[in-house]
Symmetry: C2
Subunit: 192 residues, 2 copies
Amino acid sequence: MSHFIIPSPFDLIAAPERRIIDLELGETVFRQGDETKGLYCVIEGSLELIRNHQNGHSVVIYKAGQGETFAEASLYSDFYHCDARATEPSKVVLLSKNSVLAAIRTDYAFAEKLMKRLGSQIQGYRRRLELLTINDATERTFAAITDQMLTGSIMQLSREIGLSHEAVYRSLAELVRQKRLVKTGRGRYDVT
Amino acid sequence: MSHFIIPSPFDLIAAPERRIIDLELGETVFRQGDETKGLYCVIEGSLELIRNHQNGHSVVIYKAGQGETFAEASLYSDFYHCDARATEPSKVVLLSKNSVLAAIRTDYAFAEKLMKRLGSQIQGYRRRLELLTINDATERTFAAITDQMLTGSIMQLSREIGLSHEAVYRSLAELVRQKRLVKTGRGRYDVT
DNA sequence: CGTCACATTGATGCCTCTCAAAGCTTGTGG
DNA sequence: CCACAAGCTTTGAGAGGCATCAATGTGACG
């Protein structure tokens, strides 16, 4: 029953520590303010971490696809700072705080790999921070495509890079006109 | 000669592993593309991590004050992704990659504390990501003040939050008018 | 084949950037 | 002690760009 793949370093955690959770589209694993239980691994499907602001607008702060873990930063936090929402029917597995913390204490290879993950997430966030300070919509859109951020729909991308979807469509059209991008399909673009 | 304070967990690294570096204002410890030597701790003064974009515009991705460490994410990277620049005459100490990696392997408490630092940095970046997606200049400025981001000048803050300094000054004036902020001095504001 | 979400383009108004100028604060050197 | 320079602070005016509203096209899926 547990013939799915858990990525390193979490494969080092014993199977009995794993609890599988089924999710429908739009269902949440946890919400902003909930007590932290641990981190999660996507067995199937994909999820988004979303921060909600009072004004009603929200930001996607992380996307996790199949085989990826999310909410690592919750390990040392008492409550989640964002919502985790399934963007399609998905299966996730909970890796409880205790089991992960125990693994850190008993297995330095585990700790090292986990730290590597955290480090690369930090660098990812820094790149995105840089992206968001580009004021010109066309240039920001181009940078996002270059950074391989267009994995879902353009609606989704526009939310991630802080532009209206109309602005992104117009930017894409302009970039194609400038021959800096080529359209490879409905809502698909590649750098030339 | 080594009666300065190194914050946890790096105090666990033996003193002989430490090399002190003196910096003048504007001097850099490392630059984007340099090979990584390790991470650093600020003994005195303050530094900024800056990412430079081709268009010439740059983003401050981290500020490190006295007693803080920076470039932790470089541990598992072969080269630095940004410049580290002193914003005043400063002293920093290098904690070499090897000594830190060794500490991780031999001391789980060290690993745990370091991971905690990385986790809180991730959450900080997420918060800042959220901030940058606030489109209204006044609201973004208010959020920045609430987040205690006004430590230097307003010119500096405006660069960090991706607004022109004029827009920030106008926002601050508006917020004072709205009685959501009070001016506590030249370039100093507090939430009411 | 109808519905729904995404994709695309047009028109309008507001908001921020940019350029400009003047007051303010601090430090430096004569 | 004063004058000057340099950088921060503040306000004004104009232009351009993005958000917003609106409408239509398009592909996917039941």
